[in-house]
Amino acid sequence: VNATKRSGARTSSETDAVILARVAGGDLAALGVLYDRYAPGLLRFAVRVAGAEEAEDVVQAAFLRVIRLAPAFDPHVASARPWLFAITARIVQERRRSLRRWRAALLGLAQQQQRPQARQLTDARADLTRGLARLSVAKRTVLILAEVEGFTCEELSAMLSIPVGTVWTRLHHARNELRRRFEEES
C-alpha cells in the first residue's frame, strides 16, 4: 500500500472507474479525489437520513468500505455516484438502531417547538424535518434519494437491491405520511 502516492493533475479528467481502480491498487490519494467529487452530496444525504451527528461517521464508513469494494466496481459504469449513494444508504440501514435514538431526540425537540411562542416561529421547513424524522429509515432513504438526489425509481431499485415496486410503495407511503403530518399540523 502506498499511502503517499500523489495523483497529480490527471485526476480531474480521470473517470470514476479509473480512480476506483487506483483505490483498489492501494492509492489513497485516489480515494481523496473520489471524496472531493462525491462527499458533499453524500454528507448532505447522510445528514438528512441519519442526522448531523451520525452523518460524518456514516460518510467515513462509506469511503472506508469503498476501499474494500473498489475491486468489484464495474469499469464500464460511467459514474460511481449511484454506487457511492448505495453504499452510504446501506450503512445507514445497518445503523438503524442508533438512528432510532436520533429520531427520538429530534421528535423530543419537535415537542418543545410546539409551545405557543415557539410555534409561531415554526415554518414549513421545520414541519418537514419533523415529518422526515417520523418516517422509517427505509422510507426516508428512498424519499431523499428520489426527491432530493434525483435518482429514478429504477436506479433506486438497483442501488438498494430491492424491486422497483417496493421503491414505488415506499415513496407513496412516505409522501402520504408527510401529507398527513402537514394536515395535522395545519
Binding site: 454528507l43 432530493v148 409522501r175
Partner: protein, 332 residues
C-alpha cells in the same frame, strides 16, 4: 361533506415516479390541465420536492474537510494494519511450515522408536511343535514361557538390559542367555533339550545348574534299575570341579574323542543304547554326590541337604547312599 376524489388522482404520483408509459403520461398530463384536484395533487408533490430540497442542510465546508482528513487517516491506518496482517500471515505461514517440519521429524523419530520397540518385543520367538501345550507371560523384567507338554523351539536375541527369558519345564527352568534352543516335554517330564546357538542354564531344584552350550543335546537319565550298575562298588571319583551330572555330549567333547560334532537336536547315533544307562547312572551319581559335597564346602547346608534327599530318591541303591543319608538327616 367531502367532494368525491378524482379517479385518476393516482396518475399524478405515478407520472412522477415513472410508472406510466409515454401515452398514459401524455393523457394524464392533459387530464391534469382540466382537473383541479389532480392539479392540486401535482402542485403538492412539486412543493414537497422543493421543500425537501430547500430543507437540505447547507454545505458545511469545515465538516467536509474534517471528514476528509479523518477518512484518509482511517484508510491509511486500515491499509497499515492490513499490511501488518499480511506480514503476520507470512510469519504464521513460516511458523506453520516450521511446526510441520518439527512434527514430521518427531513422527519419524517416534516411528523409529516404535519399530525398535517392536523389534525389542520380538526378541523372544517361541515356535511350538504340533500339540505343544505352553503359555507365555511377561512380568517386569522377566519373560516366562511355561511348557507343559510338547516341543518348543525358542529363539532369543537379548542384550544385557533386556528382560530375562526363562522356560519353565516340569523339573525346573531353563534360562536363556541369548540363544536358540529346543525343549521337549512328554508326560510331565523334560525328555530333550538341544541347544543350537549360545548358552542356556537348566536349573532343577536340588540338582544344581546345568550350563548347556551350542551343539549340546541333553536327555534325562533313565531311572536306575534294581540290578547293580557296572560302576557299583567302584571307588568314588573325586574331581576338583563339579562334573556334569547328566549325559552331556557337547561338540567339544566329541571333538576330543575324535568324533564329529553332533548336530543340534540329534541323539548320539553311534553309541550302543544298551550300554549307555549304566555308564550314565554312574556318572550322574558321581555328579550328584560331588555337587552335594560342593554345596557343603560352600556352607550351603540346606541346599546340600535337599540335594542329598534328591540323590537318595534318584539313586536309592547308590554307591554313597549311607554317607548321603547322613547328610540328608543332618547328622553331619
Amino acid at each position: 361533506m367531502k367532494a368525491p376524489r378524482c379517479a385518476r388522482l393516482w396518475e399524478v404520483e405515478a407520472a412522477r415516479d415513472g410508472r406510466l408509459d409515454a401515452a398514459a403520461l401524455a393523457a394524464s398530463q392533459r387530464h391534469a390541465l382540466r382537473c383541479a384536484e389532480c392539479a392540486r395533487e401535482r402542485d403538492w408533490l412539486e412543493g414537497l420536492t422543493r421543500g425537501l430540497r430547500a430543507g437540505a442542510p447547507s454545505q458545511d465546508e469545515v465538516a467536509l474537510r474534517r471528514t476528509r482528513q479523518a477518512t484518509l487517516e482511517r484508510a491509511a491506518a486500515l491499509a497499515h494494519s492490513r499490511a501488518e496482517e499480511g506480514l503476520g500471515a507470512r510469519w504464521a505461514l513460516l511458523a506453520l511450515a516450521a511446526g510441520t517440519a518439527i512434527a514430521i521429524v518427531v513422527t519419524a523419530v517416534a516411528l523409529l522408536w516404535s519399530q525398535e520397540r517392536a523389534q525389542h518385543a520380538a526378541l523372544v520367538v517361541a515356535t511350538p511343535g504340533i500339540g505343544a501345550k505352553w503359555s507365555r507371560h511377561s512380568a517386569g523384567n522377566l519373560e516366562r514361557i511355561d511348557l507343559n507338554d510338547g516341543a518348543l523351539s525358542v529363539r532369543v536375541r537379548r542384550s544385557p538390559h533386556d528382560p530375562r527369558v526363562v522356560v519353565r519345564v516340569p523339573e525346573g527352568e531353563i534360562e536363556d542367555l541369548g540363544t536358540v534352543f529346543k525343549v521337549t516335554v512328554r508326560r510331565g517330564r523334560t525328555v530333550e533339550l538341544s541347544v543350537s546357538q549360545g548358552v542356556v542354564v537348566f536349573r532343577r531344584p536340588g540338582q544344581g545348574d546345568l550350563r548347556l552350550s551350542a551343539g549340546t543335546l541333553w536327555t534325562p537319565v533313565e531311572e536306575p534299575r534294581s540290578a547293580a550298575t557296572p560302576m557299583a562298588g567302584a571307588p568314588p571319583k573325586v574331581a576338583s570341579a563339579v562334573p556334569p551330572p547328566e549325559p552331556l555330549r557337547s561338540g567339544r567333547a566329541r571333538a576330543r574323542a575324535g568324533k564329529k560334532p553332533l548336530a543340534a537336536g540329534r541323539a548320539e547315533p553311534d553309541e550302543p543304547a544298551e550300554t549307555r544307562p549304566a555308564a550314565e547312572d554312574a556318572t550322574a551319581e558321581d555328579g550328584a554326590y560331588l555337587q552335594i559335597l560342593a554345596l557343603l564346602r560352600e556352607g550351603r547346608t540346606d541346599e546340600a541337604r535337599l540335594a542329598a534327599v534328591a540323590y537318595l530318591k534318584r539313586f536309592p541303591t547308590g554307591f554313597r547312599r549311607i554317607e548321603v543319608e547322613r547328610i540328608a538327616d543332618g547328622a553331619r
